[in-house]
Amino acid sequence: QTEIQWWHSMGGALGEWVNDQANDFNASQKNYKVVPTFKGSYDQSMTAAIAAFRAGNAPHILQVFEVGTATMMASKNAIVPVAKVMADAGYKFDPKVYVGAVAGYYTAPNGQMLSFPFNSSTPVFYYNKDAFKAAGLDPEKAPGTWPEVALAAAKLKASGHKCPFTTSWQSWTQLESFSAWHNVLFATKNNGFGGLDTRLAINTPLHVRHIENLANMSKQGLFVYKGRANVPDATFPSGECAMYTGSSALYSSVSKNAKFAYGMSTLPYYPDVPGAPQNTVIGGASLWVMAGKKPEEYKAAAAFFNFLSSAEVQAKSHQRTGYLPITTAAFELTDKSGFYKKNPGTDVAVNQMIRKTTDKSRGIRLGNMVQIRTVIDEEMEQVWSGKKGAKEALDSAVTRGNELLERFEKANKG
């Protein structure tokens, strides 16, 4: 029996889900065994894997969040493309069965799929229906545009709500997805899909307008900043914040913990922007196969991926976690089962994604993305605290981000 290591970052309920996937696979056949290990948050497990790789001890399969994609792609000697792994093992691997926005994200310019989309999410809009009712808003009608969000927030505030609106992953929701949603570039060269010499483009008037808007809301107490990354996730299910932009994967926690009626809806947009709404970008993570392993072990990985891509497994995962179905078949299966009808709002994410993407909305693929996100976090915090204007902060984010991009370009030119 061949045993392979799988490092992941799925804690809690999602951790159980990961273990179940592995157990199901291990039970389904006798030749291979997948051993999942929780390695901390996304950046911690990536750090650990890099250190391990340098020491010649990398796991076979590594879960990497979407911002690490460019780093992984650039490290050609460190990874083996999933398409190759599948082909070598003799599995039929047809990228077309995957949802375009998802597969496209992980595909090289030459059309080769590099990693296996495992848990893809996208930002969606959550709101608290009970709070809406109390504020005299129509609980059945989610605010669809940013001006509506601001209005709703004002009413919520007037009704005594301390935190009308907040967001997690501010760069992901308010700049990255925001750009794709409005069909504008986040970075040049098609957001990095077109080459390493990409540069940030988030200081356009539209971006500045949006951030200014949020800054105003923040000043009036309509938008309350609750921290970086997914730290604010707790504030919605607890009822503290009434409106929320966050990962579709938060669904599992909301459905379990929220003691109030809630609704899900598409991300707000500016109605005066032509082409909006387009589609949102994905988040979550994909599975990468690390280089330097035995052929037998690659076979095992291929078998596991093959297992994961079956429509039944996919559909089940989608329903269980709120992550996107990555194959069209899985979506259709779920639809047929009546899941979306029973759980209104669960289709929002899929609907946001299943659209034809444009060059501007396919996704974001930037090197040093972790640091760029931190730069953006830092600059945004300056805006929310009133230390900087939106324009100034975004300009500075562009300058600082571009330095990181340049460095990445240099380090990976070979």
């Binding site: 809690g12 929780f38 010649g56 001890n57 996730d233 299910p237 607890s238």
Partner: protein, 283 residues
């Protein structure tokens, strides 16, 4: 008493009690949080008096019935890992440091000063600033996921050697002379006289090193990939990876209490020797 001012004594007690209160408050709150349900805690403001779920939380934490985000490794097992590594670090470090300090103080040999400085340079540099190359060494030696990997690199510093050296220098020369006249060779002197005499220093170092080992965070994060080798401090960090309220704060806090308990017991139980050994040898 040099003067008669009762109010000064009162003031002293007042200041000290205030100090104790401030110092104790975070831990009191930890205890209170562990004794409530998560729901009660996230209701701001959380209650300031203990509730009735303390043992519940402790038992749950110990047995790993944690359903929030984060690790599921049972706390009892993590505590065992912490305990074993802390003990290895403390004991091994004391052992090798005693030997090397003995060599440095009681022998004359070529390049002695060079070695002294070589050891001394390692005095204060923690593993953090050379962490990735160290990781590579550990991995090359195949020590990942082992107690050896978890502990030996943390032993590589001179604090203890230095402390013992300072202590040995205060041991009267006459004792060595008496031992020589009694016919004791170097190792016999070391074993029969020096080590027993160092017992306070050893106790102080044991406390310091035990706590140092128990409290490691970054290093275990790196060298352990097997959840069975996670120490408890790592476990707590894992448990709050998900943000404010989604965490089962009662269990996090119960775990935090469990995490502080053994080192606190060590410190308090050994405080007399600890303080003495520490203060005497830093002089």
């Amino acid at each position: 008493m040099v003067e008669r001012r009762p109010w000064l004594n009162l003031l002293s007690h007042a200041v000290l009690l205030l100090g104790v209160a401030v110092v104790a408050f975070p831990v009191y709150l930890t205890f209170v949080a562990a004794s409530h349900t998560t729901e009660a805690i996230v209701q701001a403001p959380m209650p300031l008096l203990p509730g009735g779920h303390f043992w519940d939380s402790i038992v749950k934490a110990l047995t790993g019935q944690i359903s929030g985000p984060g690790s599921k490794a049972p706390v009892a097992q993590m505590m065992q890992v912490s305990l074993i590594s802390a003990l290895i670090i403390a004991i091994a470090k004391i052992a090798i440091s005693l030997l090397s300090a003995f060599a440095i103080v009681y022998f004359r040999f070529p390049f002695k000063m060079f070695f002294f400085w070589a050891i001394f340079v390692t005095l204060m540099l923690p593993v953090e600033v050379r962490i990735s190359p160290t990781y590579k060494v550990v991995s090359d030696l195949g020590m990942l996921n082992s107690y050896a990997g978890l502990t030996i690199p943390l032993i590589a510093s001179a604090t203890a050697t230095f402390l013992f050296r300072q202590f040995f220098l205060t041991v009267p020369d006459e004792l060595v002379e008496a031992a020589r006249i009694d016919g004791a060779g170097p190792m016999r002197f070391f074993k029969d006289v020096l080590v027993p005499l160092s017992s306070t220093s050893i106790a102080a170092l044991f406390v310091i090193q035990f706590i140092y080992g128990w409290n490691q965070y970054l290093w275990p994060l790196l060298v352990t990939t097997d959840e069975k080798m996670y120490p408890i401090v790592l476990g707590i960090q894992r448990m709050i990876s998900g943000g404010d309220a989604a965490n089962e704060w009662n269990l996090v806090m119960a775990t935090a209490l469990l995490a502080m308990l053994p080192p606190a017991l060590v410190v308090i139980g050994m405080q007399k020797w600890f303080v003495k050994g520490l203060v005497d040898s830093e002089k």
